[in-house]
């Protein structure tokens, strides 16, 4: 037996052993999770009560859709939650505001890069405007600016609610955010000026990366400080996801950016270990952690199967962390490594279906509730696209599919299905929920939420469907050696144009969202009673709530 087969066999054995140990520990109660653990995000008698601060508070369509209830919160529970929300309000706001700014920067760079692909003589007089740099400015702005900051902001806001403990160490967040943003501005400017480390997802010069690591560590610190003070006796599944993500990302980013360590083909292996883990071990767990909180919370209904959600977490962690090699199928890498990644890509179907089943059964076909809750509209769609993106990703890892789709726009469309369709939509939904709580103000214009939703949903549909078709045709043309290479370029042109149109709609949606975000931050319009504490329905406790709110303000 040669070395390769041995390594392959060993990894396989380790994987199977890991899975068996895991199943054994589950069946022996090592995890000790009862279904009631999923109730931890609710008050004692809160189940059945909807909560969506972004929905129209003056009518009770959402509660009607979720079913009548006499559930309520006690005054103690309510004031505890208010204190928890208050403790995270400013740190979360700082992160979300900066995230929004980067979303706009990233969107502008995206649309320029997209148009350049079908108008190659447009904006060619300056080096910083060239496609290769605009594309990197887009990627780094949306990944490290928008997505990471939104993820951190949402996580920081969720932690006190999940742990029922006020956030500890908010000042670290302010320092961390400042350092992160100054570093990111330098990094993006460096890319524009032509200074790059040269690897996808790792373009920013390593001198800048030092400060990214420092800023990121400072922003993650409050999670661990708050954990040390937690008042709940069980960690809800979202804490597992978010906590693990905050442990993983600094390790990934640090190892990937050590200068002069990685070389040649090994650098490529490392590059995609990092690139895919940034998605799999950073954005995905945060997105899923948020979805696992907001879907049950908005509906007032605990997650369908709590054990399944934890099983999903550990499977995701184990399998997802090893799929990076599938970016290098057919490349000059050790075969065992690529094969390992393909196998784990297929194994990803297990945790993905755990999420799919769980979210589907929790929503329970309650389309009406999804329609009446702006938060759910975004998050449920995002969750569905998570499943779609993951299944698509597993299939793309198969050599027979990969030979067509690798090196084409199909992959670009797929990447956006994950980062945009899933993660960004979940973040949008989360921000709609969170902002009214942070600023104690209602979203001024419900029509802007609808406009935002439909622009990005339709825009992304145009973007994704067009680019997927174009990419597939490109790949088919490319593997047909009888056709000249230029055929594979020409065939994509209509789809590259449709991508610019779809992208334009998405950018328009972002601008509306940004304006709305600024309006609510400035507390524009008239404040509506009762201070958005709870929906104005089934409110045997409304008096208590008001009392609690006034007391909190005095305190």
């Amino acid at each position: 037996m040669d070395g390769t087969a041995l390594i392959l066999l060993l990894t396989f054995l380790v994987s199977v052993t890991g899975l068996l140990v895991f199943i054994w520990s589950m069946s022996n109660g090592f995890f000790n999770t009862k279904q009631s653990a999923s109730h931890i995000i609710f008050g004692q008698n809160e189940i059945g009560l909807v909560e969506d601060p972004a929905s129209n508070q003056t009518n009770n369509e959402l509660q009607e859709a979720a079913g009548e209830t006499d559930a309520s919160l006690t005054q103690k529970e309510l004031s505890d939650r208010l204190i928890a929300d208050k403790s995270s309000a400013l740190p979360a706001f700082v992160c979300l505001l900066t995230a929004m700014c980067w979303l706009i920067v990233g969107s502008a760079a995206a649309i320029i890069a997209s148009i350049k692909l079908h108008e190659p003589d447009w904006l060619v007089s300056q080096a910083w405007l060239t496609f290769g740099r605009m594309r990197s400015i887009h990627l780094n702005s949306v990944i490290y600016g928008w997505a990471s900051m939104a993820g951190v902001g949402v996580s920081l806001w969720l932690i006190p609610r999940l742990l029922k403990t006020p956030l500890v160490g908010a000042k670290f967040v302010y320092w961390g955010a400042i350092i992160w943003h100054v570093a990111l501005m330098c990094g993006v400017a460096a890319i524009g000026a032509g200074y790059t480390d040269g690897m996808e997802w790792l373009e920013m010069p390593w001198q800048v990366d030092i400060f990214i690591v420092l800023g990121g560590a400072l922003m993650g610190l409050p999670l661990f400080l708050t954990l040390a003070n937690r008042k709940v006796d069980h960690l809800y599944v979202s804490v597992w996801y978010i906590g693990a993500a905050l442990i993983w990302f600094p390790i990934l980013f640090f190892i990937a950016n050590i200068p002069n360590l990685h070389f040649g083909v090994q650098g490529a292996a490392m590059n995609w270990w990092y690139g895919h883990n940034a998605l799999g071990l950073w954005f995905t767990p945060i997105g899923l952690g948020a979805a696992y909180y907001f879907i049950p919370k908005v509906l007032g209904r605990p997650i369908y199967s709590y054990n399944l959600s934890l099983l999903g977490f550990w499977c995701l962690a184990f399998f997802y962390s090893q799929v990076g090699g599938h970016h290098l199928i057919g490349g000059p890498l050790p075969t065992w490594m690529v094969t390992l990644s393909i196998v784990q890509s297929m194994m990803m179907i297990i945790p993905v279906f755990a999420v799919a089943v769980n979210h589907h059964m929790t929503v329970g076909g309650n389309i009406k509730a999804v329609i009446h809750s702006p938060t759910l509209r975004f998050i449920v769609l995002g969750s569905m696209l998570y499943v779609a993106a993951s299944v698509q990703g597993s299939l793309e890892a198969l050599r027979s599919v990969n030979v067509i789709t690798h090196f084409t726009h199909y992959t670009v469309a797929h990447a956006h299905l994950g980062m945009y369709g899933f993660f960004t939509l979940v973040m949008f939904g989360s921000i709609y929920f969170i902002m009214p709580r942070i600023v104690d103000w209602e979203w001024p214009h419900p029509w802007m939420i609808s406009a935002h939703f439909w622009l990005v949903a339709l825009g992304f549909a145009v973007y994704f469907i067009g680019l997927t078709i174009g990419g597939w045709l490109q790949g088919v043309a490319m593997v047909d050696a009888a056709k000249p290479f230029m055929d594979s370029v020409a065939v994509t042109l209509p789809y590259l144009k449709s991508r610019s149109i779809g992208g334009g709609l998405m950018v328009l949606g972002h601008l509306i969202f940004m304006i709305h975000f600024i309006l609510i931050s400035l507390r524009y319009g008239t404040k509506k009673e009762p201070a958005l504490l709870i929906p104005k329905v089934n409110i045997p406790f409304i008096k208590e709530a008001k009392v609690a709110a006034t007391e909190l303000k005095r305190g």
Binding site: F31, G264, G267, M337
Partner: protein
Amino acid sequence: MAGHIDEKKLFTGALVIIAFATLALVVMPYVQLKHVKAPAELKPYTDQQAHGRKVYMSMGCVYCHSQQPRDAKYAPDDKRGWGRASTAADYAYDKVHLLGTMRTGPDLLNIGARQPSQDWHLGHLYQPRAYTPGSIMPAYPFMFVERKGPAKDGEVVINLPPAYAKPGITIVATRDALGLVEYLKALDRTYPIKKTIEQSLEKAK
């Protein structure tokens, strides 16, 4: 306080998992590939080529051009003239890899063998559509200096095809353009290589 058993599980589990993934995808390839030697036919980059490689990175060429022809049994890359399947040894002098993940344009690992003309490359960088109708590659006019009057000694002037020529204007290549073209011309891994990674490791032992 619940004894923080959950935290222990979370920290241990998360660290074990990332350690395992790092072992599989970073450390083991590192150990395995560290001993791969450069083939005798492959020469280290000259200073000018190395500068050109930096320009290649800074312009983001890698986002549209791969440098990794696939095996003929798997995909017809060789039939397109892109060369044999590359091996790890072909990248022995590439500190930062530029394998790429996209082929909006063709694979470039052997562009120097396919197209050794400096004239062609310079003109193509200035205006790709003058040489390849339908190309969507960006033009890079900022890598050239345009002026009236003749070129100075030692300057390299580009000659565009008649349809794109600018009468009375001299277009001179900058150091960046010249370096980039030298790098592209150096991209030539057409020497025969039969060894897989594993075989070259056997030899190293």
